[in-house]
């Protein structure tokens, strides 16, 4: 199994390290053609406006929608969550618009308000050290979306079938449990396709 990390901008190397720590092969995806060789992809943290613009420029916007249509799993972390969302508060624009969630950007404040905290994440862990950096959160979800974690009354992790999103950065700790959960999702959908 090969797990891709969208490598246009952001924390790519950190995700690749944890995927490998979890025992799978990681691929840095810079070109659309590379999507064919992978079974699932992580859209990493970074700047969502930058990643969004580069995705559009190189055709990743349509290519990743096709990827999702093939029921191949996508995991968005922080900026990646914004990229996956159907609705972004305060703007009519969205990026991939795949997940039925409404998100608020920079929702916890600026950098000086950024924090880390232990979270309970359903199906993953009850003590996951989560790092929030100028993080978004999910304001609202449709009923087809499962809420995996809530912090201070705000949704910070969710899953909709083969799509997974977190407002925090599981790649900034040495804890591979969130990535293992995603790898299990990939395995599940891969066996359904085969």
């Amino acid at each position: 199994m090969k797990v891709g990390v969208l490598a246009l901008q952001g924390a790519v190397a950190e995700h690749m390290k944890i995927i490998e720590m979890a025992g799978e092969k990681a691929v840095a995806v810079k070109k659309v053609e590379q999507l064919e060789e992978i079974d699932g992809i992580i859209v990493p943290g970074g700047e969502s406006t930058t990643i969004g613009k580069l995705m559009k420029k190189y055709g990743f916007d349509t290519a990743l929608k096709d990827f999702s249509d093939q029921r191949k799993p996508i995991f968005g972390t922080c900026a990646g969550l914004i990229i996956l969302a159907k609705e972004i508060n305060g703007t009519k624009d969205s990026h991939l618009g795949l997940m039925d969630i409404l998100v608020e950007r920079n929702a916890f404040g600026r950098q000086r308000e950024s924090f880390e905290v232990d979270l309970e994440i359903e199906g993953v862990a009850d003590n996951f050290r989560a790092v929030f950096i100028r993080a978004p959160y999910i304001m609202d979800v449709k009923e087809n979306v499962g809420i995996l974690s809530i912090y201070n009354g705000k949704i910070v992790a969710a899953r909709q079938e083969h799509l997974l999103a977190s407002a925090f950065h599981p790649e900034l700790t040495d804890d591979p449990r969130m990535h293992k959960y995603f790898i299990e999702m990939i395995r599940e959908y891969k066996s359904q396709r085969d």
Partner: protein
């Protein structure tokens, strides 16, 4: 237990900037152009380094009104510069809510002996360095991101190249040393032993390492990425060029696809003139900003 301003949160912020371009801007309009071009952050200033050079005199922290104007204009992170050693300017910038402080040699140093104790701040810092020892001293003081000093405001990449090559070659050397050689190397470099041990074991700095100081074309940006930079700062290079919008976009793309020469050939067509630039040897010793700090 909720923790703010931890090392992980401060360094992590810089990790999110990797593969990106941070652009100097002097007002809201420029900040919007930078954001639209795909900048990962902007540095809010009263004057870009080339104009600071031209103006002469003492260069200080920017007027907070300029910084606030920029913060209101964009949703990407906003950085601002404090003078080396000027911890009160830094506290003011922290109070304003900037996302990153650059303790910068572009401004006139406020202290010729001591840098700011950056560990005591919640907001993260970026510092310039010419070599590995300088980088590790700044990291020990609490810096969460390192950039080459280069020679700001010159549009000449030669010093940034020198600093990046020096740093990378020193890192490779330390990585290949045997452990019993490390303490002597720490003494020679003037670097804390524990940080040098990290470099020995990991083959990289414990924080993100960007290129800065003289980058003015897409090819310059790609060159720095190939030399090992995690991303680039472009100061005067964007808004002192003929066509800032095109330059900004082209530099962003070249930084992402720094090994794709066909793409860069395409990007570099008809860009217009980059900033004029200054030959380094024409600068007198006291005009060289890279010599500031230690």
């Amino acid at each position: 237990m909720v923790d703010i301003g931890t090392t992980r949160v401060k360094r992590g912020m810089a990790e999110m900037q990797k593969g990106g371009v941070i652009m100097d801007v002097v007002n809201a309009e420029q900040a919007k152009i930078a954001e639209a071009a795909g900048a990962v952050a902007v540095m809010a200033l009263e004057r870009v380094p080339a104009d600071i050079r031209a103006a002469g005199g003492v260069a200080r922290m920017a007027d907070p009104r300029v910084i606030e104007e920029v913060m209101k204009a964009v949703s990407i992170p906003v950085m601002a510069k404090a003078r080396i050693g000027h911890f009160v300017e830094a506290r003011i910038l922290e109070a304003l809510g900037v996302d990153y402080i650059d303790e910068s040699e572009v401004l006139t140093p406020a202290d010729e002996v001591y840098h700011i104790d950056k560990n005591s701040f919640t907001v993260p810092f970026v510092n310039g360095a010419r070599d590995l020892g300088e980088a590790l001293r700044r990291i020990a003081e609490g810096s969460s991101m390192i950039r080459t000093k280069g020679e700001p405001g010159t549009g000449n990449v030669v010093e940034a190249v020198r600093h990046m090559r020096t740093m990378m070659s020193q890192i490779r050397k330390v990585q290949n040393m045997s452990k019993d050689e490390l303490m002597t190397e720490a003494k020679n470099l003037g670097a804390p032993y524990d940080l040098l041990l990290y470099v020995h074991e990991n083959g990289k700095l414990p924080v993100v390492n960007f290129a800065a100081g003289g980058i003015s074309t897409p090819a310059d940006a790609a060159l720095m990425m190939q030399l090992g930079a995690d991303g680039v700062f472009v100061g005067s290079g964007i808004f002192k060029s003929d066509n800032p919008e095109k330059f900004a976009k082209a530099i962003v793309e070249a930084t992402t696809h720094y090994e794709d020469y066909e793409l860069m050939a395409e990007l570099s067509k008809g860009l217009g003139n980059p900033m004029k630039g200054i030959e380094i040897s024409s600068l007198t010793q006291n005009e060289r900003m890279a010599e500031r700090g230690w």
